[in-house]
């Protein structure tokens, strides 16, 4: 019973939380790690020389090491930011400012991406610095490999990057990153593969180097960690192509009136005071997940999602969008009579939390020709009682009409 690890369920014992794709609830170890840092340290990192600051720096860099190890990465290749959106913008603007992108560059973007992996690239396209080309999703909501192959052949060496998520935040589909990276590298050896793993990392064991991608991005708060921490992993070659997009303290090794020398990785790309307690809290969250074992997490997500799908199929008014992969734990749907906001409000009255709206995925909703959708997303605390509660509540909606 993992619910015992999450204090929110002590305060609200009847809470059913199915909005983990937006943000996850926090377990005791994370809350304690954050409180512990404030109670026992609280000093800045990296520059001060007094013992308390040395302790703070050691705790912060230890936390970076724990996060890196969890994803099979080297700590020097792990750039910490404010959130996944900041990291995605950092890559788009960093590649542009370094001159690696030019006006004849082509960037491939997967259809149906979250706004945060779409708008930074759209902005570059609007400014005519690059051309954007969309890669189609197939009927299962996965990357259409035939379309990808043909686009790679068509644009050949002009392709500088393919930006895609590992799991779609509305469709709950899962893309085979290893196969996709291999295909991209075969056809366009210089092209980089950027993967937004925000929705997959909380459910699957993820080894960034083995994935074959060049950049991988995750949001700490979706991994049971505190808000305000984004993770950008890049291989050394890919990171070397990024200009720092934010300038300030920590990212320089020396500054003279007319000359700056940039710091080494990862600090070169981490300007300003970091979210120390957030990073320490995130390392506790990942240690917590490691103790559970990520393979067990995947099994749990799969079994809860399958039970949800089974229950939802019994309600004829509910129309499931796409073909959700049970390993991702995301099911989106519409209702024949009710608007998503009305459903989410009525469930909210019963302390059942689901998402309603466009899930930061306007173009996908446009192409599906629906104004909005409801989204159920699974976390490690969900159990069979939660499944029963939400399915019963959705059946009651049917009766009340």
């Amino acid at each position: 019973m993992l619910k015992f690890d999450f204090p929110i369920f002590k305060t609200r014992p009847y809470l059913v939380y199915f909005d983990s794709a937006a943000t996850t609830l926090k377990p005791y170890p994370v809350i304690q790690a954050v409180a512990n840092w404030y109670e026992n340290c609280g000093a800045p990192v990296h520059r001060a020389v007094y013992p308390l600051a040395e302790t703070s720096t050691a705790s912060f860099e230890h936390a970076r090491g724990v996060i890196a190890r969890f994803f099979g990465a080297q700590p020097t290749n792990l750039i910490l930011s404010a959130n996944a959106t900041a990291s995605l913008n950092q890559v788009a603007n960093g590649l542009n400012q370094s001159g690696w992108l030019s006006s004849d560059s082509v960037i491939l973007i997967l259809e149906g991406e979250h706004h945060s992996n779409y708008l930074p690239w759209l902005k570059l396209g609007e400014n005519k610095e690059v051309s954007l080309v969309f890669v189609r999703l197939n009927e299962r909501g996965e990357v259409d490999l035939q379309n990808l192959t043909s686009l790679l052949d068509q644009h050949k060496n002009k392709i500088k990057l393919f930006a895609l998520s590992q799991a779609n935040n509305v469709l709950g589909s899962l893309h085979d990153i290893q196969a996709i990276s291999k295909l991209v590298k075969q056809k366009s050896p210089d092209a980089l593969v950027l993967v937004d793993a925000s929705q997959s990392a909380p459910h699957l064991p993820l080894q960034v180097v083995q994935s074959g991608a060049d950049f991988m991005i995750m949001g700490g708060h979706k991994l049971y960690g505190p808000n305000g921490v984004g993770i950008l992993w890049g291989n050394t070659d890919a990171l070397s192509k990024l200009s720092p997009t934010v300038l300030g303290g920590n990212m320089v090794s020396s500054v003279k009136k007319d000359q700056i020398t940039l710091n080494e990785l990862p600090h070169r790309l981490e300007a300003g005071s970091p979210n120390i307690e957030g990073v320490i809290g995130l390392s506790s969250a990942l240690s917590y997940l490691e103790n559970i074992n990520m393979n067990k997490v995947t099994e749990h997500t799969e079994s809860i999602t399958l039970a949800l799908l089974e229950g939802l199929k019994e309600i004829p008014e509910i129309l499931i969008i796409g073909n959700p992969n049970p390993k991702v734990g995301i099911i989106s749907f519409t209702h024949t009579h009710l608007h998503p906001h009305d459903i989410a409000t009525l469930l909210g009255e019963k302390d059942i939390c689901i998402r309603a709206g466009q899930q930061c995925s306007g173009p996908l909703h446009e192409s599906l020709n629906i104004p909005a959708s409801c989204r159920i997303s699974v976390g490690i605390y969900n159990d069979s009682d939660d499944v029963t509660r939400i399915i019963d509540a959705l059946k009651t909606l049917k009766c009340s009409l």
């Binding site: 009710l338 608007h339 998503p340 906001h341 009305d342 409000t345 009525l346 009255e349 019963k350 309603a356 709206g357 466009q358 306007g362 909703h365 629906i370 104004p371 909005a372 009340s400 009409l401």
Partner: protein
Amino acid sequence: MSQTEQYTIVLEQAQHPEFAGIIENADLISDGANLSCGDEVKWYLKVKDGIIKDIKHDCRSCAICKVSADLVAKQLYNQPVDLLTHIKSEEIIEQIGIHLSPTRQKCARLPIECLPKFEATKGQEQLRLEETEV
């Protein structure tokens, strides 16, 4: 009455709106959308001698937005066109009759925020011209 029961009443009201529809050859047309939830509202008004002679809303939206639009239309029907700029969202939210969180209040405000802009001092001729600009 519980909040759920109250909300169910709103849902029923939303299924039978009095002023839903479109007006062919409307004098004033406007629309608005709430990007975060996907609600869309369109307004059609027929105006004669400064009076709103007919008004319709076409909502692709949640129940709160639909009921709000209907209450707004009821207030405006057969009233001077000046009233378009004097509809108070607080009053409409109160009339909906259930507690609305700040996020849901946006759903209620959308029909008010996207009402057609009209200057009463301009004549019918001007009004026809503005239709193309909306």
